[in-house]
């Protein structure tokens, strides 16, 4: 198992190299960051001086090599927007906020989709199924920002049950978590329904029924764990969607995580920060996938990582 984890971590290296290259190229061919740094009243001499200071006059590949060398020493560059603070620090500071948002979103998604998916599968083609399925389809058909704004309007402004935005109050995380988790919840419900239906057709379920087990025992003991595989697969695949969804959700709820930071950084061409966010979120996504893979072997004894 440990070997497997090490192996998977080693595999991340070329992927990360690819990620850095893509982002680097994209941002270097973009506009001149110096102008954005200096603001509307900049003098030409100032612009030149800063360009030189940042090494922006060197060829691209040299800038990339410089960048990679810095990365290896833990230097992700300095934020333009935040007066030259280390980008890594700027981003890491925001990580807990996004992590708690994503965790809540995931929690909501699981808490909603588990019962909904089970009910939909068991009552296939009956009312409960139709209701659960309709909600899950609606959840997928509704853009995140739209849902977020509606939730604010209904549950925060009109009913006053939850804070409108921010992250300081204990209930602050509810609405953004729900917003972020809705799409995943919908997808997981659909996935759980269809994989449960598929599992319920398996021979071993027939065996379980032939043993005289009750329907609930069959589902809880025999079906769910097998359906959990595709359920986990979706969670793994959607890890990056969760990070992406955080961008929109954080914008709507003024949630000070890395999604909001990303928008600000892209808008102000804060390249170091954008690169750091992309690299860091790739690491997060890959780590989530790794965790999912490890969970696979917990759920399914057939999978062994040796």
């Amino acid at each position: 198992m440990i070997n497997y984890v090490i192996w998977r971590i080693l595999q991340m290296i070329p992927i990360l190299l690819g990620v850095t290259l893509i982002v680097f190229v994209l941002l270097r061919v973009s506009g001149d960051p110096v102008l954005l740094m200096l603001g509307e009243d900049a003098q030409p001499e100032q612009i030149e001086a800063l360009r030189l200071a940042l090494g922006l006059n060197k060829p691209l590949y040299q800038q990339y090599l410089m960048y990679m060398a810095d990365l290896l020493t833990g230097d992700f560059g300095n934020s333009l927007r935040y007066n030259g603070q280390p980008a890594l620090q700027v981003v890491l500071e925001r990580l807990p906020a996004t992590a708690s948002l994503a965790a809540t979103g995931l929690l909501f998604a699981v808490v909603i989709s588990l019962p909904a998916g089970i009910v939909a599968a068991l009552k296939q083609h009956r009312m409960a199924d139709h209701i659960a399925s309709s909600f899950s389809i609606l959840g997928q058909a509704m853009p995140n920002f739209w849902l977020g704004i509606m939730l604010i309007l209904i549950f925060a402004v009109t009913l006053g049950w939850f804070p409108v935005s921010g992250s300081d109050k204990p209930l602050s995380v509810v609405l953004p978590g729900l917003t972020l988790g809705s799409g995943l919840a919908a997808m997981l419900t659909r996935m759980l329904r269809s994989s449960l239906l598929e599992v319920m057709q398996q021979d071993y379920i027939r065996t379980a029924r032939a043993k005289g087990l009750s329907q609930s025992t069959i589902i809880v003991r025999h079906a769910l764990r097998n359906a959990a595989l595709s359920y986990l697969t979706v969670i793994g695949l959607e890890a990056s969607a969760l990070m992406a969804g955080a961008v929109v959700t954080e914008q709507v709820f003024a949630w000070p995580g890395i999604g909001l930071l990303a928008i600000q950084a892209i808008n102000s061409r804060d390249m170091a920060v954008v690169q750091t966010i992309v690299i860091l979120s790739s690491v997060i996504v890959m780590s989530m996938n790794l965790i999912v893979d490890i969970l696979y072997s917990v759920v399914d004894p057939r999978i062994q990582h040796g």
Partner: protein, 295 residues
């Protein structure tokens, strides 16, 4: 390691002739709505009562005709610049559909090619192509879209190209998985054993048998892309005006939710309807194309 190459529920190739494709009511609804949307897009200049981009400063924020203060001049009302909502919706369908469909066509072309090649030949080609897939999968897509659109500007064509170039990974993964399982099937081996050229085998026997999952993914993907366009517009990176898009209408309408609900509600309803239609069609295709359901 778990086989995550195939999406559960999509995997087995399909054996269904057209005449067995019974329509479910939901699928019929989906197909009917899709047809209407396509007709709307094609016939936009004939159908739209007004120019979608011309403000009418005297008729701003007119509510839909069935609401108090509504007017029969503007069936679905007007927006904050007095532009006819119905006309904008009709024209907007063009962008929604072209972003969705062209984006998916491009994405599926890239993804299917990559998946076929990687799955069929394996080896270093596979490693490199799947490396690229893993790189793209590791980066949260929205970040990538935003960065690329921020860098290169926001034209419709560019958006479609960007979507195509980023969004193909699902296709590649699924197709590769399908190809890997198809390769184990004896008819592929049979094709080899008669001395068929591998490329011909790939195109004649492998490709048609992965079309089912591709169609299903593509359908659901179109829906996802329409929502993506709306989200990008929300973040200020959408297709630029005066081009009318549902996503942009929805994103702009968000500021009027409390005061002029129809600005957001109507495009929202359109997006939801189109997405639902596509999901219905996709689900139906998935059920139909699954050989386990074919009998």
């Amino acid at each position: 390691m778990a086989d995550t190459e195939t999406l559960p529920g999509l995997s087995p190739p399909l054996v269904v002739p057209a005449r067995r494709l019974h329509l479910s009511p939901l699928a019929a609804f989906g197909l009917a709505m899709l047809t209407i949307f396509v007709l709307m897009a094609v016939l936009a200049p004939l159908l739209a009562p007004y120019d979608p981009t011309t403000p009418n400063l005297r008729a701003r924020l007119v509510p839909p005709m069935w609401v108090a203060k509504g007017s029969a001049d503007h069936i679905l009302g007007t927006d904050h610049l007095g532009r006819d909502m119905l006309s904008r919706l009709i024209y907007g369908s063009r962008i929604a559909l072209s972003v969705g469909f062209l984006g998916v066509v491009l994405a599926s072309f890239i993804g299917v090619s990559v998946g076929l090649i990687a799955g069929f030949w394996r080896g270093p080609v596979d490693s490199i192509l799947m490396g690229a897939v893993n790189i793209l999968l590791a980066i949260p897509n929205t970040l990538l879209y935003l960065t690329v659109l921020a860098v290169f500007g926001q034209s419709l064509l560019l958006m479609i190209i960007v979507i195509g170039c980023i969004n193909w990974t699902t296709f590649a993964r699924v197709v590769r998985g399908e190809v890997l399982s198809l390769k184990e099937r004896e008819f592929i081996e049979a094709s080899r054993s008669i001395g068929q050229h591998p490329v011909v085998t790939l195109l004649r026997h492998v490709l048609p048998n992965v079309l089912g999952p591709i169609i299903v993914i593509a359908t659901l993907n179109v829906a996802a892309l329409i929502i993506l366009e709306a989200s990008l517009s929300f973040l200020g990176f959408g297709v630029q005006p005066p081009t009318v898009t549902w996503g942009r209408m929805l994103a702009d309408g968000r500021n009027y939710i409390a005061t002029a609900w129809w600005l957001a509600a109507i495009p929202g309803l359109m997006i939801t309807t189109l997405t639902l239609s596509l999901i219905f069609i996709g689900d139906w295709l998935r059920d139909r194309l699954d050989p386990r359901n074919a009998s």
